[in-house]
Symmetry: C2
C-alpha cells in the first residue's frame, strides 16, 4: 500500500486499472515527454463517408472485443446514442468493451444488461447515477473498477495517451456528408460540443451519428471533416425534451436561496467582484442561485464581468444579453433551448473540454477563474469535498469540472445545506475525496460560514466585512447535535471505482458497499 498526500491508503496497483500514482498536490505533477500521436490517414477525391447503417459503420471501424469506445453526454438525460451503439455491438457478438464517456446520465440504465452479458466490462466516466450506479456500487456487476475523471482530467488523459480510444461515436445534432458538425441545429440540438472535440482528435476511428444530415459544407462547423471517418444517419439522437435537466434550474427552495444570498455576501466581501471578473457556478440549485444575487450587486455598482464559463444555462445567457458579462465560454450547454445562442451571439463561445479545464495544455479557462461556486454531497473538517458518492458510499453523482475549477479559481466557495434529509453534510471525514482541501476556500451553509485555514487572506477580508464566521469544527458539532453520528459505511474488498485527480494521480478508491 502507498499513501497519498491526503492520507488515503492506496494499493500500488489495481487489477483492471493498473499502476497507481498517488496524489501529491494540486499542481505537483509536471508532465514530461510527448502526448499521444494519432494514426495516419488519407482521402481520395469525392470519397464518400456516408454508410448505410450503424451496423456497417461498426464493421468498417474494425471494432473488436477488448477495445475502447467513447461517447459524449451532451444529450444528457435525452441521450439515445450510447444504447443504440451498444445494442448493435452486442448483436455483432463483440464483447469485453470499455466505454469511456464524458459522463453517464439517467438515460443509460439500459447498460446494466450489457454489463451482465459481458459486452461492457469497463467504464471510464465523470459520473454515474441511479440504478446503474447502484448495481455497480452495491452488487459489483462490473468486472473492472470504473475510472472516474474530471472533465479536464479526461481531456488530459486522452491527449496524453493515458486513455486511448479505438472508436468514438459522436452524436451530431447537425452533420454534413463529410462529417462537419455542430450541436446548435437540428431536432436534438444541445449546444456546445466541448467533450467530443477532444475525442475526435485522438480516437483511431470517428463515427458521426446524426438525425439531421445537411448538404456539405455545413454553415457553422464545431468539429470539422478532417477528423471524421464515417457518417451514419439514424432515426433520432434521443429525446430533446430531456436535454435540459432539472439540475440546471434556479432553486425556489428557501434554504438554498438563503445559502446563495450568504455566498453572494462572501463574494462581495472578497473584493473579487470587479469589472472584468470571471465567474463559474456548478449545476446545483444554490450554486446557480448565487448568480441572481451577485447580479443585483453588479447592477447597483455598475460592474461588468469578463467571462462566465462552464456548463452554460439560460440564466447566464440572460446575463450576457443584459451586458453583465462580456463573454460566455461554453463547454457544455445545460439547456437545449439556448443551443442556438452559440451561433446567434458572437460572445457566446464554444470551447473544447481541453480548453476548459485540461491542466496539461498551454492554458485552460479554469485557471483564469476568479470565482467558482460549487455544491457537494459532503465536506469534511479538513475541507475535503465529496460530490460523487453519498454518505452511504454509493455512487450517485459526478465529479464534473469541480476539481478543475476549484484548483484554478482564485476563490472557491462551497454552497451546501448543513444537513439533507436528516443527514449531516459537514462530516468528520468525507466518504470519498473528489476535490482536495487545498483547493477549497470557503464553506457557506445555512448554519454558518467557515474559511479554510490555508486562506488567511480571505479570512481577513470576510472579517473586515463583518461577515459572521465560525470554525468548521463548531459547525460540525452543531450539526451532529441535530443528526447524531451516522453509521459508518461498511464496505467489502472489491474496488468498484478509482477516483483520479485531474493530473492522473489517484485521490481515492471506492469499494463495493455491503448491502
Amino acid at each position: 500500500m502507498i499513501k497519498n498526500k491526503l492520507g488515503i491508503e492506496l494499493p500500488e496497483s489495481i487489477e483492471g486499472y493498473g499502476k497507481v500514482k498517488a496524489y501529491q498536490g494540486a499542481f505537483a505533477t509536471i508532465p514530461t515527454g510527448m502526448k499521444a500521436s494519432v494514426k495516419q490517414s488519407y482521402s481520395l477525391p469525392n470519397q464518400s463517408k456516408l454508410v448505410a447503417s450503424l451496423s456497417e459503420a461498426i464493421v468498417k471501424s474494425g471494432l473488436k472485443s477488448g477495445m475502447t469506445i467513447s461517447f459524449h453526454h451532451h444529450l444528457r438525460d435525452g441521450d439515445g446514442i450510447m444504447l443504440l451503439v451498444v445494442e448493435e455491438i452486442a448483436k455483432q457478438g463483440i464483447k469485453d468493451i470499455h466505454i469511456n464517456a464524458s459522463s453517464f446520465t439517467n438515460a443509460h440504465e439500459g447498460i446494466i444488461e450489457y454489463i451482465k452479458s459481458g459486452v461492457i466490462t469497463k467504464i471510464s466516466t465523470s459520473g454515474l447515477r441511479g440504478k446503474l450506479a447502484e448495481e455497480i456500487s452495491k452488487n459489483g456487476i462490473l468486472p473492472n473498477p470504473i475510472t472516474f475523471r474530471t472533465h479536464g482530467g479526461r481531456a488530459r488523459a486522452i491527449e496524453s495517451g493515458d486513455a486511448h480510444i479505438d472508436v468514438t461515436f459522436v452524436g451530431a445534432p447537425t452533420c454534413d456528408s463529410l462529417g462537419n458538425m455542430n450541436g446548435h441545429e437540428g431536432p436534438c440540438a444541445f449546444g456546445a460540443m466541448g467533450y467530443p472535440m477532444v475525442d475526435v482528435q485522438y480516437a483511431d476511428v470517428v463515427i458521426a451519428l446524426t438525425d439531421f444530415l445537411q448538404p456539405h459544407p455545413l454553415r457553422y462547423i464545431s468539429i470539422d471533416q478532417t477528423y471524421v471517418d464515417y457518417v451514419v444517419e439514424v432515426e433520432s439522437l434521443g429525446d430533446p425534451a430531456k436535454i435540459a435537466s432539472g439540475a440546471t434550474r434556479i432553486t425556489s427552495n428557501p434554504s438554498e436561496l438563503l445559502i446563495a444570498q450568504k455566498a453572494a455576501k462572501v463574494l462581495i466581501a472578497s473584493g473579487l467582484i470587479q469589472t472584468g471578473f470571471s465567474f463559474q457556478a456548478g449545476a446545483g440549485g444554490a450554486a446557480l442561485a448565487v448568480c441572481r444575487y451577485i447580479r443585483e450587486y453588479m447592477e447597483d455598482n455598475d460592474i461588468k464581468g469578463g467571462f462566465a464559463s462552464g456548463g452554460i444555462n439560460s440564466y447566464l445567457v440572460e446575463l450576457l444579453k443584459a451586458g453583465l458579462f462580456s463573454r460566455l465560454l461554453d463547454v457544455q450547454t445545460f439547456d437545449g433551448t439556448i443551443a442556438k445562442s452559440i451561433h446567434e451571439n458572437i460572445d457566446h463561445c464554444e470551447m473544447s473540454a481541453s480548453m476548459y479545464a485540461n491542466p496539461h495544455n498551454k492554458s485552460c479557462i479554469a485557471h483564469q477563474l476568479d470565482i467558482m461556486i460549487l455544491s457537494a454531497t459532503e465536506i469534511d473538517l479538513d475541507f475535503n469535498v465529496n460530490s460523487l458518492t453519498g454518505s452511504h458510499g454509493i455512487i450517485m453523482g459526478a465529479i464534473g469540472g469541480a476539481p478543475d475549477t476549484a484548483a484554478g479559481a482564485k476563490l472557491t466557495v462551497m454552497v451546501v445545506p448543513a444537513l439533507r434529509k436528516r443527514l449531516p453534510i459537514v462530516v468528520e471525514k468525507v466518504t470519498h475525496i473528489i476535490t482536495p482541501s487545498e483547493t477549497v476556500d470557503v464553506l457557506v451553509t445555512d448554519r454558518g460560514i467557515c474559511v479554510n485555514p490555508n486562506r488567511p487572506d480571505v479570512l481577513a477580508k470576510l472579517k473586515e466585512a463583518r461577515i459572521p464566521l465560525c470554525d468548521i469544527k463548531e459547525l460540525y458539532e452543531d450539526i451532529k447535535q441535530l443528526t447524531g453520528t451516522p453509521k459508518k459505511v461498511e464496505c467489502g474488498d472489491k474496488i468498484v471505482g478509482v477516483i483520479e485527480y485531474r493530473d492522473g494521480t489517484v485521490l481515492d478508491i471506492i469499494r463495493q458497499v455491503k448491502s
Copy 2:
C-alpha cells in the same frame, strides 16, 4: 540515380534534404504508422504569457542554432514579422536556422543578408520571388536546397513529422494576453489564419506577436490559448496597405479576358456548373476573370453554387453576398479589405491548410472540388505544368495549392496566354514540373484549347458543345513559329531546390542556373 513516374532523374539522397522518395502518381502514397506527437505542457492558475520583448520570448523559447522556425505569409507583401524575428535571432548570435514559411513574398528580400551571414541556412516554402529567389537560383547563396511544398503538402509534412518546427512565430492581428487570436481585426487584419492553424498544433513552442492586444478572452477565436506559449506586443505586424496584392485583382487585359471567356465556355460545356457545384480559381488574372463569366451563366440559368474555396478575394465575397455561392471556405484571404467578412458573414468560413488541402487527413476541401482554374508559367506537351520557375530556370513564383486542387478537382482547367513577352508558354518540356499531367485536364490559351488525352470524357463533352479544340502539339508548333525555340537553360550541378509533391515524394529538382 532513380527515376520517378514522370521520367525525372533524381539522386537517391540530396545533401541538406535527405533521402529522396520518387513520385509514383497523384494518389500512390498510402501513409502508414503514426503522425507526429507533440510535447507535453502544463499551466498554472493566472500564469501570464505576456513577455516584455521579442528578445525575451526568443530566449524563453529555448531557440538554438540549428533549429527550425516557422512563419505564415498571410500578411503577404506587407509582412513585417519574419525580418523582425530574424534580426533578433541574429542579434542573439543564433545561426544555422531553418525557416519553414508557408510562403516568402516581396517583403522578405532582407533575408538575403542573413543567409549571407550564416544566420539562415535552410528554407522550406511554397514559393519565392524577386531578388531573394535570384540570389538563391543564380548565385547559390543558400547552403542547403530549398524544400518546396504545396499548401496541402506543408500541412501534411508538419502533421506527419516530416517537417518538425521548433519555434513558430505567429503574426496575430488581434490577440489576447493568453494567445487567443484571430486575423480579422486590428490594424493589420488580413482575414483567415489557415496556415498557422497547423503550425501551432505541432510546433514545440508557439510565440504570438501582436500589435493589437485585447482583453482576455477574445471575442472571436481562430487559434486558441491552449496552443500558445508566449505573447509579445510589437509596434506593428507590417504594412497593411501591402496585404492586398496585385495578383488578386481581376484583369483588364483583353487577352486574359478572352482566355477567361473561353475557359468559361469550357466549364459550361463540361456540364459541371450545376446547382451546388464547387469552384476554385487561382490567383492569376485570367483565373480570377473566369468568375465573372460564369457568374453571367449562373444568373441566367438560376444556378446557385455550393462552395468556393481557397484564397478568397473580394469578388468571391461579392458572389457570396449576391447568393451565387452558399459558402466561402477560406484558407487565406487575398485582400485585407474583406478580412472582417469572416466574422460578419457566417457563410464565409475560415479553414486550416490541413482542412483545405492535406491529402493525408480524413478529407480535405480540395478533394471535394468540381472545378479548379489555374494559371502557370509553362505547360508542356504531356500537360505537365510549371508555376514555380520561369523558362530561364530561375525561381519566380509559388506552388501554392495548385497541385492539391488539380489532384482533387473533377475538372482542372489551365488558363494561360500562348506566349508572354515573346516567350512560349506551351513548351516541349516544362523547365520544372510542379503539377503533374495526370491531374491536369484542359488547357485554354488565346490561340487554342487542348484536352489532356487521359480525359476522353471531357473531350466528348467539349466536342458535343462544338467548342473548337486543337491538339497540343499543333498549338505548340503554331506558337514556335512566332517565338522560335528558346535556348535551353544551362544549369550547374548544385541543387538549389527540391520540389515535393503534396504526398512528400519528389517531382523534380531545381539546379543553380549558370549566369
